[in-house]
């Protein structure tokens, strides 16, 4: 029933950091089972918005509904219940360096103490295989490349079997081939596992490729919202400028990659 409704409903969200009005009246509805990309330049408030969705930050005013349940303002059991429906893949992967890859993937399940160790082992193997890291359970995060760390973070998110997965800049710092790999993986999560996916990115290629809906944040406000097609044909000058600048920057990056040859990331594939 809920699968067909609105997964995340944000109403008139405002957030200040000191005098800085980072989010200024955000209204956003994210349908369940779809992929939504939130795009915008650095400092536009994208990651702050994402952290509000999972209750890591609380709004100064406005409200957030997750499958029609209002997000509580205070930490407690109710907030934890809502958070169980989420998983988040952080920009820097946020793996615990003191644990192995396997322990990182199992972390949430082990702490929940609901499954047997054998069952948890099975889930670790299954999720790592899903992200192409079969047999890497005993490696330490420090021994992995950026792309591999991102994939471990995705496996950790999937292990909790969430309904909504939030990605904060999943392709930043990755070479184009690895970025495409991660994009395909995210698209797969939506198509095969029917997860609701929210991606914060400034990579327009990723957004156009994966997203069913795109919204652009600029100075704390949503200035454009719609399908990738409507976004491409937007007449909003800021959106046009953002897309064209990204394209120029990306062409230059591809050119540099061609000049310097394959990078370490590619060898890890």
């Amino acid at each position: 029933m809920e699968k067909n409704g609105i997964a995340i409903d944000i109403r008139q969200l405002h957030r200040w950091f000191g005098d800085n009005h980072v989010l200024s009246g955000i209204d956003l509805k994210i349908p369940a089972g779809t992929a939504t990309a939130i795009v915008g330049g650095s400092g536009a408030g994208k990651s702050v918005l994402l952290k509000h969705m999972v209750g890591l930050l609380m709004p100064d005013s406005g409200s957030i509904y997750i499958f029609n349940h209002e997000m509580p303002r205070k930490a407690g059991r109710e907030l934890e219940e809502i958070r169980r429906r989420f998983a988040m893949v952080f920009q820097g992967s946020a793996l615990l360096n003191s644990l192995t890859v396997g322990q990182n993937v199992a972390l949430g399940l082990v702490e929940q103490r609901k499954l047997s160790p054998a069952e948890i082992d099975r889930i670790i193997r299954e999720k790592l295989a899903l992200v192409g890291l079969k047999g890497k359970e005993s490696r330490r995060p420090g021994e992995l490349s950026g792309g591999m760390r991102k994939r471990v973070a995705i496996a950790r998110a999937l292990a909790m079997d969430p309904e909504i997965i939030l990605f904060d800049e999943p392709t930043s710092g990755l070479d184009p081939v690895m970025a495409e790999n991660i994009d395909s993986l995210i698209a797969d999560l939506r198509d095969r596992l029917k997860k609701t996916v929210v991606i914060v990115t400034h990579d327009m290629d990723s957004a156009f490729k994966i997203a069913d809906g795109i919204c652009m944040l600029y100075e704390g406000k949503i200035i454009e919202q719609g399908s990738p097609e409507t976004f491409r044909s937007s007449t909003n000058p800021i959106v046009e400028q953002f897309i064209s600048r990204f394209k120029r920057h990306n062409d230059r990056r591809i050119e540099i990659n061609r000049e310097i040859g394959p990078q370490k990331e590619l060898l890890d594939l």
Partner: protein
């Protein structure tokens, strides 16, 4: 005149802001302490995190504690021995060394060592986790950071600090015995008899209570400073320095007031 008034305003604004920050930090640390104590109810389910912390704390601190305690014992015996020798009272070196160690030097020295060795490491580790979003990652996995990170370190500090203090008291006292024998020709048994005669159980017990309180201070200050760190790697270093300084000051101040309370 106007300019002078503005400067005075600025001074009071600055002072007020610092005072508010200070009281806010103290309030937040007390709340963290209360939450940590509440989480101690699930200690038996979390022994896999508590026991390694205790082991680590003991193993990391023991070598430096041994070295410090034995040399403090040496120097204490040397200084008191020289003074007592003038009155022909060398046999009382044992009492002075052991009581000083048990009441003051044992707990305070151990606290300083633990702050430097363990407290700094706790702040650096948790601050690094904060700036690299690992604490946020724990929250999104429905893992309470206070239960997962703070409670085990808190319990390790309040249980291991008294254990270390007993060890430091013992090593310091025996260090004193070695110097008393070598320089003042006080036989070992005379030294031990003197210790047994004057050192009371109360002296040791009070030292251990102090140690446990210093354990609370060290763990809560170190964890709090780590948890509130934001920004980048530069802030981790700053948080660690602040945490060590605040822990030292808190230990010195609380040590005075605890001693004062017991004397009344």
């Amino acid at each position: 005149m106007k300019k002078k008034a503005r400067n005075i305003d600025k001074f009071f604004i600055f002072l007020g802001e610092r005072l508010l920050e200070f009281f806010q930090s103290v309030g937040e640390m007390l709340l963290l302490l209360a939450e940590t104590i509440l989480w101690c109810r699930v200690v038996f389910k979390n022994l896999d995190k508590v026991l390694p912390q205790m082991g680590k704390m003991g193993a990391d601190t023991l070598p430096i504690a041994s070295l410090t305690a034995v040399f403090v014992g040496f120097v204490l015996a040397l200084q008191t021995g020289v003074a007592l020798q003038q009155f022909g009272q060398e046999e009382n070196i044992g009492a002075i060394v052991s009581i000083s160690m048990a009441r003051e030097l044992g707990p305070v020295l151990t606290a300083i060592l633990v702050i430097g060795r363990i407290g700094a490491a706790i702040t650096a580790e948790i601050a690094t986790m904060s700036v690299s979003e690992e604490i946020d990652a724990l929250r999104t996995l429905s893992i309470n950071p206070v239960r997962y990170l703070v409670m085990p370190r808190f319990l390790a500090c309040i249980t291991m600090m008294p254990v270390l203090v007993i060890y430091v008291d013992g090593i310091g006292t025996f260090g004193g015995a070695a110097v008393a024998k070598a320089y003042f020709k006080v036989p070992f048994l005379t030294y031990v008899d003197n210790v047994a005669e004057y050192l009371e159980f109360e002296d040791i017990a009070k030292g251990l209570v102090k140690a446990a309180i210093f354990g609370v201070i060290t763990s809560i200050v170190s964890c709090y400073k780590g948890l509130v760190t934001t920004g980048g790697p530069g802030e981790v270093g700053l948080a660690t320095t602040n945490s060590v300084v605040l822990s030292f000051v808190s230990v010195y101040v609380s040590n005075y007031f605890i001693t004062r309370l017991w004397l009344e």
